[in-house]
Amino acid sequence: MIAIIDYGLGNLHSVYNAFNYLGYETIITNDENIILNADKVVLPGVGAFPDAMKTILKNKLDIVIKKIINKKTPLLGICLGMQLLFEQSEEHEICNGLGILKGKIVAMKDLYQDGHLLKIPHIGWNLLEINKNKTILKDLKDPYVYFVHSYYLETNEDIVSSYINYGKKIAVSVEKDNIYATQFHPEKSGEIGLKILRNFGEL
């Protein structure tokens, strides 16, 4: 069973719909026992970083997420769910994240391409340049995926599994041990996105 962690923000149904469509038994929950007993766990996320951290701490989901990682259960963070895994974000205010992975989340600004100031949020389809293709990013042909974000990851760790070019090279997915995370939305990325979710489901 795949457990999608419900921390009271955003639209979790599209992630649920996608796994459901692929035939996986899926549940949206904030129940510690269900999450700890799931085969796979998804940390989704739409919304602002500080609000999300507040809700996670209030519901002690930070402890649950760390237990999941120690248990070696595959965890997939999506969008804000990826950002939350890192040490810090500057969205609205400097705010500490879960600190499970090393790196920080910074605002997109002053990005140029061919002399044009690029638009923020970065909304739409961009092509992944895949760096690690053994796990959830395996067997992807023309990996265009859908993005909606105004903040991005900066990390010096060797955990980045793909990049995009948006004015500069930006890390958009990571993996380390049983932790997988994407800045883009696989649940909104058509067939390629479904393939990524299936790869995760089959880990």
């Binding site: 599209s14 638009k119 058509g190």
Partner: protein, 252 residues
Amino acid sequence: MLCKRIIPCLDVKNGRVVKGVKFRNLIDAGNPVDIAKKYNELGADEIVFLDITASNENRNIILDVVRKTASVVFIPLTVGGGIRTIQDISNILQAGADKVAINSSAIYNPKIITEGAIKFGNQCIVCAIDAKWNGLYYEVYSHGGTTKTGLNALSWAKEVEKLGAGEILLTSMDKDGTKDGFELSLTKQITESVNIPVIASGGAGSMKDFLDVFKYANADAALAASLFHFEMIHIKDLKQYLNNNNIPVRLV
């Protein structure tokens, strides 16, 4: 590099897709879920549902359409038409849409944009602007293009960006239904004055029209309805053509 998006728009009335020219001589064109699915397979980058249901009691039907579509189509969905309150926005997003397009309400109650953006994130608030040249400036119209507002489209676009809109869906009423190309001058002026994505709409008649609106007006996305419905252009061929002409698009 970020791709330019191709967006088919489905006019939905009482839960069915309708086809017609400028909302006249409407004929039933099928089930929105099936049609959205077909466009997704052809390579559409997003789907827009424009709810043109007239009566209030039938307005919940669109929520059911969105729910069903979102469980089988995994690309972004936008819903526009008749959105008046934060609760309307919430209902549509909860049903599985990713964005809402707000037109008249934004004009008469601009704080719906700001409140919507704060509550749901500016990425899901699209402001739809219908504009028509009045001899002096591009004037904004409300209520499906029936009511003059006196607003200048250029300053209104800047204003909605400030209010918190995450995208602008810009329709040229002069060009809509003509099939002689997008309104390049209007689109260019708007894309140059805001820093949020602009979806160009109205007037597409050929593949070259799409190339022009991306190349000369720097639109981020282009929307069309009847052109795709009546299969005058296939989305797949269009994207191949754009790709051959060095416009970055998502090929499927």
